[in-house]
């Protein structure tokens, strides 16, 4: 085989699983539902109707405003957090890093209720502002903070120190250093994280309904209602396309500014204890932000789970194992944990392997256009509402000839479709920055592809892969929208158990939902800690 041919073949093969995956488990169901939506109508007319409807126009405007503000707030706070984690070591850091991922998996209803207890009318916090744009932005920071800190601090700690040292030697000021060295080097990671936060805020659903006022609705909310509540698939299909176009545009723009940067990566931790007073203030300030924004709603949930009519106690934790026993609606918490764990494990394997392979192809692509396009396509599943995918799955996978809905695999497959874009975006910046000289050295020294993978690629990519695995697990653990459509009733996950519990009235029911949520939190924190430990990072406080 010619050299040139092999150069194309290997990346193409690496991307093949991801392409098959997206075609069968994403594009096909979504296109099926869009085709159904437009089957009896004029596409141009549908768009004209949507863009002239005053209510829908307001919805689109609001979605844009809300997501831009959320992204700015989240990136600013998250960058400060990333700087803290990358540069300083302090007691409790590894705990903190694991804990800030927790919001990512928490069921929206549970967190919404917890936030209402803080910032709702007569809430615990001194300022009450539920029903405002600020509440929505704050909630988006809560859910997405970890995306920025984890992505950026992983890139930060693998920065080429020699560049920074040279700049310092040459007498660069702090500001010059930030502007001319840190920002250009971290730009890929920052843009990757920012576009993800934008996407999650743009497609935000439950939390906008709970914390916003009745006028504040996102396009995602409209799509859900038009599909699930009114079965007006035409309007829904139009909005799905509007949403996808906006998100694709954001990724194209971020890709344009994300030019390739040649830089060596290192895996040497540079975190050190704080020295100056200014550094101490910076670290304390960041911990304070995390405590207020991230931990206070979580603490509300923990508090409610132990608060019983007879004082503090374990009653709700006992009740979840016994109270509804004997009913078909009973979900054993241990079964739910086992199911969630199995789904999560398969999702991590599928999404990380398929996603990292796709990323390796993208990193190698010479042509910026194709790279940009592939990047956008891979990210589309994140920008498509769960109800569109869910109804699409029902449409194409539930007929008797090909009933995937009966299978165990449908859930981890759906989770992987959602997690894969995250994996690609987390791994890609580091792959792009890879020092190709090491690759060439390995080849010159006669390493087989396996030896190169085992001794060169994987060690160099350990940190981003670890972060990606943790996020893939988190996505699977917390996913509700698609799971609710697809999970077999005898295999409910923890979030499904929580929603089923919350569907009934009663003080005990509420306490049990809180107890299950705490179990979900602990479960994720343990899983993330285990993944981080298995990564055998030189920086033991990673994650």
């Amino acid at each position: 085989m010619s050299r040139s041919r092999r150069r194309f073949l290997i990346p193409a093969l690496a991307a093949a699983p991801a392409v098959v995956f997206l075609l069968v488990f994403f594009l096909w169901p979504v296109i099926a539902i869009l085709v159904r939506g437009f089957s009896q109508s004029n596409v141009g007319e549908s768009f004209a109707n949507v863009f002239t409807d005053p209510v829908l126009r307001r919805v689109m405007q609001f979605t844009l405003i809300e997501s831009v503000l959320s992204t700015v707030a989240c990136v600013v706070l998250g960058l400060a957090g990333a700087a803290t984690f990358a540069n300083f070591s302090f007691r409790g850091k590894s705990f903190l890093r694991a804990a800030i991922v927790i919001p990512f998996v928490m069921p929206t209803v549970v967190m919404g209720v917890a936030m209402l207890a803080l910032i709702g009318r007569d809430g615990l916090s001194p300022v009450q502002f539920s029903g405002t744009l600020a509440a929505i932005v704050l909630a988006h920071v809560f859910f997405n903070y970890a995306i920025v800190t984890q992505t950026v601090s992983a890139a930060w700690s693998s920065l080429d120190r020699s560049l920074i040292d040279s700049a310092k030697t040459l007498g660069a000021s702090g500001f010059q250093l930030a502007r001319s060295v840190y920002f250009p080097l971290l730009r890929p990671a920052i843009l990757a994280a920012a576009s993800l936060v934008f996407l999650f805020s743009f497609t935000s659903f439950g939390i906008v309904l709970i914390l916003g006022s009745i006028n504040q609705r996102t396009i995602e909310v409209e799509i859900y209602e038009q599909t699930a509540k009114f079965l007006r698939l035409e309007t829904a299909a139009t909005l799905v396309i509007v949403q996808l176009v906006v998100i694709a545009a954001v990724f194209v723009v971020s890709g344009y500014f994300n030019r390739r940067i040649e830089q060596r990566t290192t895996n040497v931790s540079v975190a050190r204890p704080v020295k100056t007073k200014g550094e101490r203030v910076f670290v304390v300030l960041n911990i304070a932000i995390m405590s207020v924004v991230i931990f206070s709603p979580l603490l509300v949930v923990i508090g409610k789970s132990f608060s019983t009519p007879t004082g503090w106690g374990w009653q709700w934790y006992v009740d979840i194992f016994s109270q509804r026993k004997g009913s078909t609606a009973f979900v054993s918490p241990t079964d739910a944990m086992i199911n969630s764990f199995l789904y999560g494990l398969v999702t991590v394997l599928l999404a990380v392997v398929v996603g990292a392979l796709a990323a390796s192809t993208l990193a190698r692509a010479r042509h910026g256009f194709w790279q940009g396009l592939a990047d956008v396509v891979v990210s589309l599943p994140l920008g498509t509402s769960a109800v569109t995918v869910g109804f699409g799955y029902i449409l194409v996978f539930s007929t008797s000839g090909f009933d995937l809905r009966q299978s165990f695999w449908i859930v981890p497959i759906a989770h992987s479709v959602i997690a894969m874009p995250l994996v690609v975006r987390i791994v890609l910046p580091s792959m792009k920055r890879r020092d190709m000289a090491i690759d060439d050295a390995a080849k010159v020294l006669g390493a087989t592809w396996w030896q190169k993978l085992r001794h060169v690629d994987l060690p160099l990519l350990r940190q981003p892969l670890t972060v990606a695995a943790a996020f893939a697990f988190a996505v699977s653990l917390g996913e509700f929208g698609a799971t609710a459509f697809l999970a077999r009733p005898d295999r409910p996950t923890l979030p499904i158990a929580i929603y089923r519990t919350l569907g009934r009235p009663g003080e005990s029911t509420f306490g049990q939902a809180m107890a299950l949520s705490v179990i979900l939190m602990v479960f994720l924190a343990v899983a993330v800690a285990v993944i981080a430990r298995n990564a055998k990072s030189s920086d033991s406080s990673f994650l």
């Binding site: 075609l23 159904r36 209402l116 207890a117 709702g120 079965l231 009913s327 078909t328 609606a329 996978f397």
Partner: protein, 377 residues
């Protein structure tokens, strides 16, 4: 040379994908669809459930709130040789809409939990085949809606305003009372466009104040909502947020003492059955109650229509009917079914519930929701 190699490869890869996709599509479209719209024949044998010689698996499409005793399910399975598999499919509206999407090649054999407000939509989509249940004779006449036997009533529930007794000593006696200054900033309801109880409460106001045929912005019921809005009504997206997040009586969380919930919610808040009735943490405002009946129907294209019919008969038998309140917080439709003690004691009897005929609801629902939205959005 390089260019040509690339293109061949690309074409080959593309061919494989197209082939794979075609395969999937064919596998899908060739799926069986027995489109017999014939009625299912009676299945009871001398009033007893039939026993199938060969074991069959019956798939029951339900909403997420469906529940029954595990022991009853086993009893049914042992008696009939039918294995029951539940298929929870979201809330009632989502369940019906996703079933309409696959009408004719359904995701199960029997559907449970469709309520009056969704019937017309399901009938228009030809979702069910008729079955005349023998058990229907025992159903209280008021629940035997004219549905041409397409669906069978199984249970009913009343959507009512609940109030927090700790905060409200003299509750409002009517919907009109909610407009008084005493109840300013006190009421939380659900958005009728997204929530089933929210829609029921909207219908309650239309049934009470009238003007349902008035397409203008001055419909009588719409005036009521305007007044409610200026009196500080809070609109939540769903029952969970309203009841657990905003209502003060649910678990002492929120600050609104009046919420749209169910007539069966107060018994759920009672921890001790020895409590005096007027000491229950929450109570019901009877004049606000809107009645909803839940039905079951055999899905057109079902693989096991006879087994589906057997399950419907089973749901009308005394054991299942007695099981309904504790499991789903709704009430049995069969006459003289005894209620569990805690429901017997703490349920407010709703003698004159508000109701609007399901055909009228279907004809006007979208317009009513738009009119409502013009006030609130």
């Amino acid at each position: 040379m390089t260019f040509r190699a690339n293109r061949t490869m690309r074409n080959r890869v593309l061919t494989v994908f197209v082939a794979a996709l075609t395969l999937f599509v064919t596998a899908c479209s060739s799926g069986g669809s027995s489109s017999s719209s014939n009625a299912v024949a009676p299945v009871l044998v001398n009033g007893q459930l039939p026993r199938f010689d060969e074991a069959v698996t019956l798939r029951v499409v339900t909403h997420d709130s469906f529940a029954m005793s595990e022991s009853l399910k086993t009893e049914f399975e042992n008696a009939t040789n039918i294995k029951v598999e539940l298929v929870p499919s979201g809330d009632a509206v989502t369940m019906v809409n996703s079933s309409i999407l696959t009408s004719g090649s359904p995701n199960g054999d029997v559907l449970f939990g469709i309520d009056d407000n969704l019937l017309s939509r399901a009938f228009a989509a030809d979702l069910f085949v008729p079955y005349s249940a023998a058990g229907l004779n025992n159903v209280d006449a008021q629940f035997r809606t004219e549905t041409k036997n397409m669906v069978t009533p199984i249970d009913y529930g009343d959507v009512c305003l609940n109030f927090d007794r700790r905060k409200i000593s003299s509750p409002p006696m009517s919907l009109q009372d909610l407009l008084s200054a005493n109840f300013a900033n006190s009421v939380v309801v659900q958005d009728p466009t997204s929530s089933t109880p929210g829609l029921a409460f909207l219908l309650a106001t239309i049934a009470t104040f009238g003007g349902g045929n008035d397409t203008s912005a001055n419909a009588a019921w719409l005036d009521y909502w305007r007044d409610l809005k200026s009196n500080g009504v809070k609109v939540s997206p769903d029952w969970e947020t309203a009841y657990y997040g905003e209502f003060s009586g649910g678990s002492g969380q929120g600050s609104y003492p009046i919420v749209v919930s169910y007539a069966s919610s107060p018994p759920a808040e009672v921890a001790d059955i020895n409590l005096a009735v007027d000491q229950a943490p929450t109570g019901v405002i009877a004049a606000s109650c809107y009645r909803q009946i839940e039905y079951a129907g055999i899905l057109r294209g079902a693989k096991h229509p006879e087994a589906a019919a057997a399950f419907i008969e089973f749901m009308l038998q005394p054991e299942f009917q007695k099981d309904v309140p504790n499991q789903m917080y709704v009430y049995p439709v069969v006459k003289d079914t005894p209620l569990p003690p805690i429901f017997e004691k703490f349920t407010t009897k709703i003698s004159e519930p508000l109701q609007i005929n399901y055909r009228e609801v279907e004809q006007n629902r979208d317009r009513w929701l738009q009119q409502w939205a013009s006030v609130f959005r």
